[in-house]
Symmetry: C2
Subunit: 470 residues, 2 copies
């Protein structure tokens, strides 16, 4: 019934509403200003300095750790130092997971250590058993229940290298779904070839989960060389491994989304939101994941904020340093909940969270009336080597909950060819960030944010429920 | 007086002796056979299989560890399996150094872990103090005695990348000489930027030493990213580090040089000696250092051993898997002592211990009468992309004690451009070995060993004392 009455409503009001919708356009003055800002940003080192500062002064910053609180203070101080007009925090509460120690070794005739790291969310525990190797998640899911009793399941799936996220899709499925499949098969422990692409002896961590009703088992990832080694040993005959993890959940923690704004010239309550996440895994110093996203977005807001007031864009630039992305988008979900009522005030959003590689493509899935404005933005981005794609719909993970509610997102898609060499492992350190590539990112975010904020008209952000009711 | 009488002896006998010296030459039959062997070796996978077997089945094999004994048994069995005519062991006794645990962290406002590894020979201990950074060994050596009381000395010297050992020369000096300089300055601990070239978070170990009369202090190497980080922190202000090493000397151990021969056709008591070292550091699986040297030399002897008896070279091919190279050439020194009386029976020697990169150059510092034979060998090596150099004098570390006694050495110089990315760290694993490059090495050693062993005449090996008396 309700569906029918909505259809009637649509018939009655849709056409006049669409007819009234102005075509969104970006003024020539804004294009000229963004073009200047692009050159300025390419020569600016703010993004690099911010990335250097966070990774050096705070180092790794696991959500809920002592360094989490230091990172929040760092972000607040850095926003102030960069001249933002407003800086505030919004609480984000989540269960706290701790890593205290981890080791694994082959026992018996070929005794030797294996380099492992606990998956986030894994319980601690010491298990020893014969390793049973599977080539895929599906292979493990298809074994008979109980058939791995007393054994350790090992999924030896190698994720593919790609310039985008496509290889990670299956890699992260093996991480998320493997432990539950192992438990159903009766296994006492779970090992996986890291979801990564770099042949260094660095296991890659990341969250896993355990399906309801299952008793979690110690679950860890092997570095790629160690997965090779274990596969070779298992091919030679029965191979026993001792896995010892000291980790687990320990109460609750409240961190903060740190938010700052460069106030808009004429529509200060409307925002273009950009950002990155402030937390990192503990193994590296979180340089590409995601200090660089923080550096890029802080630099973009800063550069726009340095303009004389009358040259600022109409709308406000809001930069969010999200709390605890790594363990389940806690900061992003908290932001979406806290700002649901203001969703329409969000002109566009984009988060940088795929490393520090150059941006290759730009895309916005905008309504027809805003497509020309998107093309205008794309034209100013093009000299940065950025292609305009019509098919993309990516936005960073922390904005995805808000996108699901209806905010229109922009994808500024980075080259991730080497991202998964470093992702979630100890090699994610500052030396892997190329300052020139970082400046290209900052320039793109500066251009994007300025133009989106100065557009005449919107890009279609609207609550999903309202969409359905139209 | 003795010097004068020797000079008189030289005057009386030198000219006739030189006149009687035949020019060393290699028969055409040998050239033809070595040319065939070269093609065969390039298509052969023995070197790869041996390298795979040692690194997989034994894994890391720190001298004196449980794996040391397994490696000796592995080598003995592998020589037999590869069809060697004789296999035996010779004891090598050395002090045993153990690594049990190691960690470091910055304490205070920028608290964070640092990735370190104890230097071989370091004592254990926990020290905490302010870090004082030096750019070179000389800078540390030049500070006033006692001026670092209560502090931790940090030499932040970055070794240079090169295709040969030249960068390592200073890198290893910083490792060997830094701790004693630190102690003289009053330091309670020693940290160094690893002697390495790879920006991964893998510290490089290696032996250090403490000058007589000094009380050793905990001494460790930082990974390159961690050295960068500590340098950045130290530049910001006083930075305290807590270094905790659990390691040290623990009694004596007797390992074995494992030796095997392919008996020569007509001069079986004369030998061409080739080899690699069987031990490794404990952090990786010792794939490039030096399982590949073992694989290359075992494969070369094996290929020659597969020939019909009448096609074998005149002399015996001896392959030595040296014990404990890493902690002070213990196996090489034991070999030299044990075989001093047979030095003249050693036609030529060459050890492979610079990784698994392609051989770029060949050199022998031979007497004039053998130069043509050296050029003949070089001609058969040339199609492998190997240049004949007249200036080289390198031979592997384990043969250097015997070379010092008078054995003539051949240098088969590998491309070491990436060697020091992996050297002495956890990344020294099998995946870093390219099977084709390894086969090129095996082909070169096969050609070299065959031709040297079949030469008519010698290459000048003679006890140094006898040289002086000539």
């Amino acid at each position: 019934m309700r569906a029918i009455s909505l259809a009637v409503a649509f018939t009655l009001f849709a056409v006049p509403a669409l007819a009234a919708q102005q075509t969104t356009r970006i003024p020539e003055t804004a294009i000229a200003r963004a073009t200047d800002l692009r050159a300025q940003a390419l020569a600016d080192s703010t993004a690099w300095k911010v990335t250097e500062s966070l990774t050096t002064e705070v180092g790794s910053r696991l959500a809920g750790s002592e360094a989490d609180a230091r990172a929040v203070e760092w972000a607040r101080a850095k926003f102030h130092a960069l001249g933002y007009d407003k800086v505030w925090t919004e609480p984000v509460t989540f269960p706290k997971w701790e890593r205290r120690g981890e080791s694994a070794r082959v026992v018996g005739a070929h005794a030797q250590p294996l380099h492992v790291t606990a998956l986030g969310g894994s319980p601690g525990g010491i298990v020893e058993g014969e390793v049973v190797r599977f080539e895929s998640l599906e292979a493990l899911q298809n074994v008979a229940p109980g058939s791995l009793a007393g054994k350790i399941a090992f999924i030896d799936y190698q994720m593919e290298r790609a310039h985008d996220m496509r290889g990670y899709s299956m890699g992260s499925r093996v991480r998320g779904g493997g432990p539950s499949a192992a438990i159903r098969a009766g296994a006492i422990g779970y090992l996986m070839r890291s979801a990564g692409t770099g042949w260094h002896r660095n296991p890659h961590t990341g969250m896993t989960r355990f399906d309801e009703g299952l008793t979690p088992i110690p679950s860890a990832a092997l570095s790629l060389p160690d997965a090779d080694q274990l596969a070779r040993l298992a091919a030679r005959g029965a191979t026993r491994v001792r896995l010892a993890l000291d980790c687990g959940w320990n109460g609750e923690y409240t961190s903060q989304n740190v938010i700052a704004e460069i106030t808009g010239r004429s529509k200060p309550d409307e925002v273009v939101v950009i950002g990155g996440h402030l937390d990192s895994w503990d193994l590296g110093t979180g340089a590409i994941d995601d200090a660089s996203g923080i550096g890029i977005s802080m630099a973009a807001g800063h550069l726009i904020g340095q303009l004389p007031r009358e040259q600022r864009p109409a709308r406000t630039i809001r930069v969010v340093a999200f709390a605890n992305e790594e363990q389940g988008l806690w900061g992003g979900r908290a932001y979406a909940e806290a700002h649901e009522a203001d969703l329409r005030k969000h002109q566009l959003g984009a988060e940088s969270d795929l490393g520090a590689g150059r941006i290759l493509a730009f895309s916005v899935k905008a309504p027809d009336y805003a497509r020309n404005a998107v093309a205008q933005i794309a034209q100013v981005l093009a000299p940065l080597g950025i292609e305009h794609r019509s098919d993309g719909e990516a936005c960073g993970p922390d904005l995805s909950p808000f996108k699901a509610m209806g905010m229109t997102c922009a994808g500024l898609e980075q080259d991730a060819t080497r991202y998964f060499d470093l992702h979630h492992n100890q090699d994610d350190t500052l030396d892997k960030v190329d300052p020139r590539d970082l400046a290209q990112n900052a320039a793109a975010y500066t251009v994007f944010a300025y133009l989106a904020a100065d557009a005449e008209g919107d890009f279609g952000s609207a609550p999903r429920a309202a969409d359905a009711a139209r």
